[in-house]
């Protein structure tokens, strides 16, 4: 009896430890973003002062705008390329599939520092001007695998006979893709885009390598400001970014969640029939 009781407590202890390690720092950052005092480690009373300075900081705002433009456009580009790649790969002979699959997943597994260097060397070889263009290209490249992965998983789940049924009913390849395949991939594409948005939005290393002198993204801006000392302004920024991330994550899970309630409904129908 005692043994059983002890055993049931173990998961709780585990959850407790994980929560403290994971969420205590986050909680502290949020609390200290409302700290009146200039020194982070001293509590000087509640204040929205640092949010005010943050909103007045033009450079910071510009960096945020850059980050949003970058994340949205690279996410959209990656969605287009990643989706067509996933759809195209379903038609490749199984033999060559494995190799191509690994190749396309490589950006995900390569250390970012190497990717960053590679992009820098490649872009300077091409003679591209470093700035927003190079940022978008690099971010698109490392976001593609996320879209590819999610879309491919959806494609694998899809009943192939549905595509054949469409062909049988008179659809050509073009119709099959736009009427049948794409609508069913939309949830996967959207959650892939949200994921790449998040990846792009917080990327420092690759961005540092490929950005120009006068284009700052938010993470780069934060990173460089850290060197001159952490002000509670950073805490305020982190809190805001955290809010956005939480909203995105919630959105993504709502979109990709299968509609379970309908299945239950179906069983009811069966009974009443």
């Amino acid at each position: 009896m005692i043994l059983v009781k002890n055993r049931t407590k173990l998961p709780n202890i585990y959850i407790g430890i994980v929560s403290v390690i994971m969420y205590l720092p986050i909680l502290l950052v949020i609390i200290y973003s409302f700290n009146e005092s200039k020194i982070s480690s001293v509590w000087g009373g509640f204040s929205l002062k640092w949010y005010e300075t943050l909103f007045k900081n033009r450079a910071m705002f510009e960096a945020l705008l850059n980050s949003v433009i970058l994340a949205v456009s690279s996410g959209a580009l990656a969605a287009a390329i990643g989706t067509s790649a996933a759809v195209g790969f379903t038609r490749i002979k199984p033999k060559s599939k494995g190799a191509i699959e690994y190749l396309s997943m490589l950006p995900m597994m390569t250390p970012e520092i190497i990717l960053g260097m590679v992009f820098m060397v490649f872009f300077s070889l091409l003679g591209l001007p470093f700035g927003m263009l190079t940022l978008i290209l690099a971010h698109t490249a490392f976001c593609i695998p996320y879209i590819y992965m999610l879309v491919k998983a959806r494609l694998v789940d899809m009943d192939k006979s549905i595509l054949e049924a469409a062909r049988d009913l008179g659809a050509n390849e073009y119709h099959v893709f736009f009427d049948i395949t794409l609508p069913q991939l939309i949830p996967a594409i959207i959650s892939g885009m949200l994921l790449s948005f998040a990846m792009s939005f917080d990327d420092v290393i690759i961005s540092l390598f490929v950005t120009g002198v006068n284009v700052n993204t938010l993470p780069i801006k934060v990173y460089t400001q850290m060197k001159t000392g952490v002000t509670p302004e950073i805490n305020a920024l982190c809190t805001l970014m955290l809010c956005v991330t939480v909203i995105l994550v919630l959105l993504s899970s709502v979109i990709s969640k299968p509609k379970r309630s309908k299945v239950k409904h179906r069983e009811d129908l069966e009974v009443t029939k």
């Binding site: 006979s161 549905i162 049924a165 008179g170 609508p183 309908k262 299945v263």
Partner: protein
């Protein structure tokens, strides 16, 4: 009157090293309900997919309505398929599913609406227009799949084991409905099943398939009463196959030596010589059982097994040469126990010579 709507001419198909279809020849008349019957892996689905254009044959031609469509894309063929998995478009409502082929043909909206309503009524799904496929039961999805396939009024409707996923009761009901639907629409149906009862129940003609070949094509009565080969006799109605040697032939009356005894058989128009080996098909319900003491006639046998299944009593006998013979009777018991000796036989007209299995 008889107009050939579909003709398969020497169709062959291999997947990798496996020859799936060896030599398929079939002519289907307009308005026929033809069933391809065979066990799984015999090539019936591949045949259907070749007709639909979802698969290209390695050799041979497919003629549809007098036109060679062998290399035609599936969307260019006036053939529609009811898939085994129903294959409904999960993101479209029932009405959108059914309307899809008409929409592709750019039929005007009012006509589409009218046609969709009329086929949904035909399959008894009025009022289900706005449901999603995930909100339907298996039987209802089946009906949507049928409605979607017939709305286009195809030359030929292909049905790939459409009732396979339904329970027995619903399956029987759908069998009747499909049969009525086919008569009402006067549409040509090509139906695939591995269920011989379904085939006998519904079809105007049955093509029994085995290892990529048609073993026999004929009406249900022909297939059942006059099977050409031992395989057909066993597959349709699970007949007993008994080997013997011809002793004498007198017109259609054959005397055959079987397992140390003598039995009668019925020759339709075949001629046999004395001493020729012969294979007889005898249906289990036609096996006669006698007590050896009272009526010593027919063949000596021992009861080896008795079981009650599907409303029928099944008695298994072993003949003197080791051949097993299955008899079936209505009722739940018979006054023979396992181990008892019995005399078994059959009436001459119930033993049909068939080609032996290689």
């Amino acid at each position: 009157m008889a107009e050939t709507i579909l003709k398969l001419d020497h169709i062959t198909k291999t997947f990798g090293d496996t020859q799936v279809l060896s030599d398929i020849n079939l002519e289907v008349q307009r308005g026929e309900f033809i069933t391809l019957l065979g066990s799984s892996g015999c090539g019936k689905t591949t045949t259907l997919r070749i007709i639909a254009g979802l698969e290209t044959p390695d050799g041979g031609t497919v003629m549809l309505g007098g036109k060679d469509v062998t290399n035609e894309e599936p969307n260019k063929r006036n053939v529609n398929t009811v898939f085994q998995s129903y294959a409904l478009f999960p993101h479209m409502t029932v009405a959108q599913n059914v309307a899809y082929s008409l929409k592709l043909k750019k039929v005007d909206k009012a006509t589409i609406q009218k046609e969709v309503a009329s086929v949904l009524t035909l399959v008894q799904l009025e009022g289900y227009d706005d449901r999603m496929p995930s909100e339907l039961s298996g039987g209802q999805r089946q009906r949507v799949a049928i409605a979607r396939a017939i709305v286009n009024k195809p030359h030929v409707l292909l049905l790939d084991e459409p009732l396979g996923a339904l329970d027995l009761q619903l399956r029987r009901q759908m069998q009747l409905e499909l049969k009525h639907l086919q008569k009402k629409l006067d549409m040509t149906f090509i139906y695939i099943t591995h269920d011989q009862e379904e085939a006998l129940n519904m079809s105007t003609r049955i093509a029994v398939m085995r290892d990529g070949l048609f073993e026999q094509i004929g009406t249900a009565a022909e297939i059942y009463n006059r099977p050409k080969t031992a395989y057909v006799a066993k597959f349709v109605g699970s007949a007993n196959i008994v080997n013997g040697v011809v002793k004498a032939q007198n017109g259609s009356a054959l005397t055959v030596e079987v397992a140390g005894g003598e039995a009668e058989a019925f020759a339709f128009d075949e001629k046999y010589e004395g001493g020729q080996k012969i294979c007889l098909a005898v249906r289990s319900e036609h096996v006669l059982i006698h007590h050896c003491e009272n009526e010593p006639q027919g063949l000596c046998a021992v009861v080896t097994e008795k079981s009650f299944a599907g409303g029928m009593l099944r008695i298994v006998f072993k003949l003197e040469d080791g051949t097993t013979l299955v008899a079936s009777r209505h009722g739940i018991d018979i006054d023979f126990s396992v181990g008892d000796k019995a005399c078994v036989g059959w009436a001459a007209e119930n033993a049909v010579p068939v080609e032996a299995d290689e």
